[in-house]
């Protein structure tokens, strides 16, 4: 008895359907090692020619075939079906998220391309080439190797928590492309790029949720590149934003007492009096419930928080990491 599997595919044709719906296709897989894309092709070629989706290279190079597989965005040409069957022998396929559906599994990626174009995704260098090309050392290339692998499939935007609630957010792949250029020793606008990516909607608006790392089919792993962008921005002295203030205040607090001073961190993270005042209702609310004791001393410089036992060791370690 041959193994039967079911693809449960989300269908939608705006010309004939009022709402999207799921359709099940049950069949014998083309081969035991078939990819999910092979199975989708089987449906289109043998069961329902109207099924619409993007695909081309079948080798995880072109970036066309990103879909949601059992709820998570990923490429389907580099995933074997048998690793994704649920307990009922089924795989659920949907179009990638956070983009308007054109038909079935095809989405409108206009905003995704706009975000990529927005980071000026090319090396800017006006200096005449000395050797017929601008050179870069193999060591320097290692800093941009991972991000250079991006195939622009959009799976990371499908899963991005910040992009989901705010289309102003630059987003994972574009920030990874930004890292690739901020760290490119041939580029002559690296400081400018780092400054622009530090603005509202940029690197500090990422929630650090690892959804893009999970979705990414390549070594790009956008969040890891975003962390590199933040470390680089810190070293460039791009400190005038809440993200940078927050991270620096956090480090200072750990160095002072070894553990988090929750009353101090928010106050030290914001940049304006207006923002400080906006923290007040939360502070009062939590103070009244006994969640923390408001300490007006926090508005003054210095330490007002008890140290953890073993703080001497913590200081020794921090000193060594600075030296």
């Amino acid at each position: 008895m041959p193994e039967l599997i079911t693809l449960r595919i989300r269908r939608f044709d705006p010309e004939s359907d009022a709402e999207p719906y799921f359709q099940d296709f049950t069949f014998e897989p083309p081969s035991p090692t078939a990819t999910i894309l092979d199975c989708v092709n089987h449906v289109k070629w043998h069961l329902d020619g109207t099924l619409t989706y993007r695909m081309s290279c079948r080798s995880a190079i072109c970036g066309s075939c990103a879909m949601k597989v059992n709820g998570g965005g990923q490429l389907v040409c580099n995933a074997q079906y048998r690793n994704h069957l649920d307990a009922d022998g089924m795989i659920t396929l949907e179009p990638i998220g956070n983009m308007p559906v054109i038909k079935d599994l095809v989405v409108d990626m206009t905003d995704f391309w706009a975000k990529i174009e927005g980071v000026e995704p090319f090396v800017k260098n006006e200096t005449p080439e000395e050797h017929g090309e601008h050179l870069m050392s193999p060591e320097d290339f290692l800093n941009i190797d991972d991000a250079s692998n991006c195939i622009l499939c959009g799976a990371c935007y499908s899963e991005c928590a910040s992009y989901e609630v705010d289309r102003n957010f630059v987003g994972p792949a574009a920030l990874a492309r930004g890292q690739r250029l901020v760290f490119d020793t041939r580029d002559e606008d690296r400081q400018g790029r780092a400054e622009r990516l530090s603005e509202y909607g940029g690197m500090w608006d990422c929630t650090h949720c690892f959804a893009c790392v999970e979705a990414c089919p390549k070594p790009v792993k956008p969040l890891l590149r975003i962390i590199e962008l933040r470390q680089d921005a810190h070293q460039r002295g791009l400190h005038d934003n809440n993200g940078s203030r927050h991270a620096r205040a956090f480090v200072d607090i750990v160095a002072e007492s070894g553990w988090l001073d929750e009353a101090k961190l928010p106050v030290k993270s914001v940049g304006t009096l207006k923002e400080t005042l906006e923290l007040l209702p939360m502070g009062i609310r939590m103070g009244l419930k006994g969640k923390f004791r408001p300490n007006p001393l926090h508005l003054l410089p210095g330490k007002h928080h008890p140290e953890i036992p073993g703080m001497g060791e913590v200081r020794t370690i921090i000193k060594k990491t600075e030296g």
């Binding site: 928590a161 940078s244 160095a255 993270s269 370690i317």
Partner: protein, 316 residues
């Protein structure tokens, strides 16, 4: 009959497993009720907690942005403390777990990094060889190799009475799954199974594996509150009586910031009416089923009233 009795005796008399307990900063500050509840549950179940009182803050994945070496060294010191005791390290915070497991993986797979960190912490008398396992309380309760639901079920004295519970898994218990691998990153089950074992009914909603929004509360509060508000209102519209979270940072956004999340959603026209959804920590949900009172578990310190939970448990 005889078999059942002897099984029960074995369970009750089973010597408790001992863990190196890393409570995390938030459970010693704004969410003290979390630590209280974990300690109640542990004591009741015979799980021994050896608290690492001298351990430093994990840095919550934030301090990496400014001083990665400091963050890694302080966390290597924490792992070394557990290694000295030959114990598994237990956290009650998804974020602490995520940060410590990420570093642990790096130390285990990168000998050069291990050597470098040991050179830093060695002066204070520590060395870390990468032998410690880092586990979250939820995993310990669910995993039969650790404590396990079959034993936990034996201790349920006050089942949750069919209370509809929205499990909020969040980020760091699920991702990156290649390092963690406990739950399916897209279709996790551990919190659902725990809820069922306690007599509750898990509610399905799309936001349960997404970010709560807490990490950008200071950078982009509107986006942060949209995230929290979306998950809360979605869970509520699916009929949830309460939400449960394994992370106190999620709790801070979902509970302490619930009024702000509600304001943002209402002002943008995506919410009519109030959210008013109680948000419980994992050990609070467990301890309620073990028979402890909401007051013993510090539920009166929550911002969103937990009265609906009490009413549900009372059969209302």
């Amino acid at each position: 009959m005889g078999t059942a009795t002897s099984e029960q005796t074995t369970i009750k008399g089973m010597p408790g497993k001992r863990y190196a307990f890393f409570p995390g900063c938030v459970s010693k500050g704004a969410c003290k009720e979390l630590k209280t509840s974990t300690e109640i549950v542990a004591k009741h179940l015979g799980i021994e907690l050896d608290e690492l009182k001298a351990a430093a803050c994990c840095g919550a994945g934030i301090t990496d942005d400014v001083n990665k070496e400091m963050t890694d060294a302080l966390n290597a010191r924490t792992l070394a403390m557990a290694e000295q005791k030959s114990l598994t390290l237990l956290t009650q915070c998804s974020t602490c777990q995520g940060v410590l497991n990420k570093l642990n993986h790096q130390v285990q797979t990168n000998p050069a990094k291990r050597e470098r960190l040991n050179a830093i912490i060695g002066e204070s008398g520590y060395q870390y060889d990468g032998t410690v396992e880092v586990k979250h309380l939820l995993w310990v309760l669910v995993d039969e190799q650790e404590y396990g639901l079959s034993k936990l079920r034996e201790h349920v004295r006050k089942p949750l009475n069919g209370m509809k519970v929205a499990p909020f898994y969040g980020c760091y218990l699920l991702r990156p799954s290649d390092i963690l691998g406990f739950d399916d990153p897209h279709r996790p089950t551990s919190l659902d199974e725990l809820t069922r074992a306690l007599g509750g009914e898990p509610v399905h909603y799309g936001g349960k594996t997404k970010c709560c929004g807490f990490p950008i509360q200071m950078m982009n509060p509107r986006n942060s509150f949209r995230m929290a508000g979306n998950h809360l209102s979605e869970a509520k519209s699916e009929g949830a009586d309460a939400m449960v979270t394994p992370c106190p940072l999620c709790h801070l956004n979902l509970d302490a910031r619930q009024p702000d999340a509600q304001d943002v959603l209402q002002s943008e026209g995506s919410l009519t009416g109030d959210i008013d959804l109680p948000v419980l920590h994992v050990p609070q949900l467990v301890a309620l089923a073990l028979g402890y009172s909401p007051k013993q578990l510090g539920m009166q310190t929550h911002i969103a009233s937990t009265k609906p939970v009490e009413q549900k448990l009372a059969g209302g």
